[in-house]
């Protein structure tokens, strides 16, 4: 069995894994990182989205061995010095979730969306989140949350440079 070394939410793990083991099952079943759920196992729903070296990936479609030497951030590792990430805050404030099952993936994908486009229009948000499905919200408040987080994050960056 191949041995992998992966950093997940700031902690380094070394494990022997079956070559076919999916990253999401490695996270959930081996590391107990159950904050990242599985919605479809066919890359369609995006519930399992995590960041690999800062870029969003659907962890049901990445093998654990492909994560070797990479840096993974899950929803559980988003807090900054104990405080919620502005995207988490925005989903709460704007009521961007109901059952919450798609939420971890939706938040991770939204963070990656703002990395690529810090000031997206509503249409760009909708297109950017096309790979993440939500059955509860009708997306309107998710769009509102991402817009609000974009505003908050650009504002906080400006202040941090001051």
């Amino acid at each position: 069995m191949p041995r992998i070394k992966v950093e997940v939410d700031g902690v380094t793990y070394e494990d022997d894994v079956e070559p076919r083991l999916l990253l999401v099952h490695y996270l959930r079943d081996r590391l107990g990182k159950v904050g990242t759920p599985v919605g479809c196992d066919t890359t369609n729903c995006g519930a399992c989205t995590v960041l690999m070296d800062g870029m969003s990936v659907k962890s049901c479609s990445v093998l654990a061995v492909q994560a070797d030497t990479h840096d993974i951030t899950t929803i559980e590792g988003l807090r900054i010095n104990g405080a919620l990430h502005p995207m988490q805050e925005a989903f709460h404030s704007e009521h961007g979730l109901q059952c919450g099952y798609c939420t971890p993936g939706m938040i991770m994908a939204s963070i990656d969306l703002l990395r690529e486009n810090p000031d997206p229009s509503d249409e760009e948000i909708r297109e950017g989140l096309e790979g993440n499905l939500c059955r509860c919200t009708g997306y309107q408040n998710i769009v509102r949350a991402v817009r609000s987080a974009a505003h908050e994050m650009s504002h906080s960056e400006v202040t941090s440079h001051d």
Partner: protein, 779 residues
């Protein structure tokens, strides 16, 4: 205090946005085993032999069972709604024993030490099938000599259920207008984002079941009766549940088998489905053929309506399968006055996954039919679709109003909701644009769709359910525990899976008890904690469960008043209770808070004689009537006549759901409901091929819409309180789904009227729209 009516941000979010959630599949227990099911590749076949020996030799495999192996103990899956005395109700073993009747039906299961090993071993099971003819078309299934789904029953008809009131013949005789149409409600897959999952843990003679279910209380009763585990030894927990939309209002074979395996093997056992398993074997929704006849006078006034339904049951009758179309029986006349109405529904077996509740459950189908007919009537008489509705609807000063179905609508104001919607929509302006585009022969035409809907919610008065032969009541339970520190635990039998009960119930209790919102914790979804209940479906949680909570709070205050009077040395009748504080009338400084009284009651050092040391209370509420939310939805759709592509340009929803506890949650419910209803109109359909194999087994084939597929909605409300409950609430969970489907299809048809189009079958894909247009032009 005024918590009720405030847009409180939700308490449950804290765990959901940080990944600290407890989904059933998150549960890992020492020694846990995993189940995988082998499923039929045939829609219909006789099982000749199942050879499990090779699978048993696979690494990590603990046990393998066929249906025959478990035949003595697996029991049969329940149907709780025998709608007619002669309803045909076939046996439904959790794992098929002699015959499979839909593709995806379980034929064997593997138990292994991890989920990969269990899935691997499935391919080593050898099943001999003798294929039988699939039964896929409802009309063909009812024909003489048709192939049978259940050969021992001699028919594919499960039941015919009839309701009639008024003289329909007279209504149609000499009617100036008769509209006759056939509409198809396509089969849908509910598609909650969390796949089903169940974990069972034996502990001595007790069994704990965690399941991704909407109905922990009903599931407990049903699992006890199916498996023989005594009810008192069975605890069912619905932890965080990732959406349901009716699909988790079910007793699934996989739940029964997982429990039986845990009992048999003495180990905790888990099963979690894959999405493709789920698309095949989570119960489906809708699937009706509606034959409709409406008679009206020359001025557009409706005289009578005749509804003749074929409803696809699928291969078996599951928990409430046969009753779903009947929930629509009383909704076809909707908000309109008419003298005669007749409804007939025939339930038909096919070799497909059984149907059952899906958001709205019977009522969206009915609303679609009548709202489409109203637009057809308007077209026939060259009236504006709003005007034809105005001529027929119940006016605000006519409530309470007994409909032709015998329902009493307690309240409503269709005029107000419509007026508000028309303004927000800028109706006249859009009509002008439509005329302009028609005149210019614009390749993109504009259509306007109207839906003035109502629904019956707050399921349900127990005596009504009894009269319909449903197997249970419709009450709900709540309890309030006053803790020694003055904090509060609220227990509710309603089981949330995204609806925000933890926030809304705390708001209600906060007002009723006069304690801070933050001091209230809401507990639900565990039969050992919220021990009594009938769970969440049919927009019932607030309308029935919320009212039960108010009742429990009133009892707490009544008990506290007696203790307060004793401690304040005053007469109970001299006490006022305001903002959580009892004070002696006229001496406001002489008082005690209910939270202090909770502490004093816990200490019990100084209680009045004969008073037990507890303020805890419980209440059960059984509604006397349904609630009737209503609203006016308007949709403007741009239809590209060259490609058939439909774009929703504007969608306005004005809903009247009575009093509102939390407007933020209400807005979210409306948005999500709209998305699902619009998606039925435009995108979703469960498709079986000619052999009866499901073609839409993934989310790539079954089009759950993404953010880019949906418009921004404009939502607003009017507020006509329900008069049948003390909160004045009506329910909001299904409104958006019920109202929006006809609004969208009406808009598409309206856009294409000049091309001779009078219907487009759902989902209105570009291809279907384009074909309808070609056919319309050709005529």
């Amino acid at each position: 205090m005024t918590e009720v009516g405030t847009a409180r941000k939700r308490s449950e979010d804290a765990r959901l946005i940080t990944g600290n959630t407890q989904w059933t599949d998150n549960i890992q227990l020492p020694g846990m085993l995993y189940v995988a099911f082998l499923r039929s590749p045939y829609a219909h076949a006789r099982i000749v032999n199942v050879d499990t020996s090779a699978a048993l030799d696979r690494p990590g495999v603990v046990a393998v069972f066929s249906g025959a192996d478990l035949a003595g103990e697996q029991g049969g899956l329940p149907c709780a709604w025998v709608v007619t005395p002669d309803m045909v109700l076939p046996d439904h073993p959790p794992i098929a024993v002699t015959e499979v009747r839909y593709s995806g039906e379980p034929v064997a299961c593997v138990v292994a030490r991890d989920r990969y090993a269990a899935a691997d071993a499935l391919e080593a099971i050898d099943v001999d099938y003798e294929p039988l003819p699939p039964v896929l078309d409802m009309q063909a299934a009812l024909a003489e000599g048709a192939d049978l789904v259940h050969s021992d029953k001699g028919t594919n008809k499960s039941y015919t259920w009839v309701f009639a009131n008024g003289d329909l013949d007279a209504a149609f005789l000499d009617a100036a207008v008769v509209i006759e149409r056939e509409y198809v409600q396509q089969r849908l897959i509910p598609s909650a984002m969390e796949p089903r999952s169940v974990v069972c843990q034996p502990f001595g003679d007790q069994m704990t079941v965690w399941s991704s279910t909407q109905i922990p209380h009903i599931l407990r009763v049903m699992l006890a009766s199916v498996t023989g585990v005594p009810e008192q030894n069975l605890r069912v927990i619905a932890p965080d549940v990732g959406g349901g939309f009716g699909s988790k209002l079910q007793v699934y074979g996989e739940e029964v088998i997982t429990l039986i395996l845990a009992r048999k093997l003495g180990k905790p056992v888990k099963w979690t489905e894959s999405r493709s398993e789920g698309n095949q074997t989570v119960h489906h929704g809708r699937d009706q053929i509606q034959r409709l006849r409406l008679a009206a006078d020359a001025d557009g006034r409706i005289r009578g309506l005749n509804v003749d339904l074929l409803a696809d049951m699928g291969a078996y009758l599951m928990l409430v399968t046969p009753g779903i179309p009947l929930l629509g029986a009383f909704m076809f006349p909707a908000i309109y006055k008419m003298d005669a109405y007749s409804f007939t529904c025939t339930g038909v077996f096919t070799t497909k996954m059984p149907t059952d509740a899906y958001r709205g459950a019977g009522r969206p189908e009915a609303t679609f039919a009548i709202e489409r007919l109203m637009d057809e009537l308007a077209h026939e008489l060259d009236l504006d679709p709003i005007e034809v509705r105005r001529r027929n609807w119940i006016k605000h000063d006519e409530f309470p109003y007994e409909t032709v179905c015998g329902l009493t609508y307690d309240s409503g104001n269709y005029e107000a909701a419509t007026e508000k919607a028309l303004q927000l929509f800028e109706y006249d302006k859009l009509r002008a644009e439509q005329a302009d585009r028609r005149e210019r022969h614009d390749t993109v035409q504009l259509g306007i769709g109207v839906s003035t809907f109502t629904e019956m919610c707050g399921l349900a008065p127990s005596r009504v359910l009894g009269s319909l032969f449903y197997g249970a009541g419709g009450w709900e339970h709540s309890a309030v525990r006053m803790l020694p520190t003055g904090k509060v635990e609220v227990l509710t039998g309603s089981s949330a899976h995204g609806q925000g009960h933890e926030t809304a119930w705390a708001q209600i209790a906060s007002d009723a008890l006069g304690v801070p919102f933050e001091d209230v914790r809401v507990l639900h979804g565990d039969t050992a904690i919220s021990h009594k209940g009938l769970d969440t479906y049919g927009s019932r949680s607030l309308v029935v469960g919320g009212v039960a909570l108010v009742g429990a709070c009133v009892k707490v205050v009544d008990k506290a008043r007696v203790v307060a009077a004793h401690l304040l040395e005053a007469d109970a009748s001299d006490l006022t209770f305001e903002n959580g504080r009892f004070s002696v009338r006229g001496v406001p400084e002489q008082g005690m808070s209910i939270q202090e009284i909770a502490g004093a009651t816990f200490a019990a050092h100084n209680l009045p004689d004969g008073i037990e040391p507890s303020l805890d209370s419980e209440a059960t509420f059984d509604p006397e009537n349904f609630s009737f939310p209503h609203g006016t939805h308007l949709c403007a759709a741009e239809v590209d006549t060259e490609t058939g592509f439909v774009k929703i340009r504007k969608y306005v929803a004005v809903d009247d759901i009575g009093k509102v506890v939390n407007p933020l949650i209400v807005e979210g419910q409306v948005h999500g409901g709209l998305a699902q209803g619009i998606s039925q109109a435009l995108y979703e359909e469960a498709v079986y091929d000619v052999d009866g194999n499901l073609q839409t087994t993934t989310l790539a084939d079954y089009l759950v819409p993404s953010a880019s597929d949906l418009p921004t909605f404009t939502t607003d409300r009017t507020e006509t309180p329900a008069t049948t409950n003390p909160l004045g609430v009506k329910g909001v969970g299904e409104a958006g789904t019920i109202a929006s489907t006809p609004a969208v299809v009406n808009a598409i048809v309206d856009a294409l009227r000049p091309f001779g189009v009078s219907d487009v079958r759902m989902p209105c894909t570009p291809e279907r729209v384009w074909r309808a247009l070609q056919e319309g032009v050709a005529q």
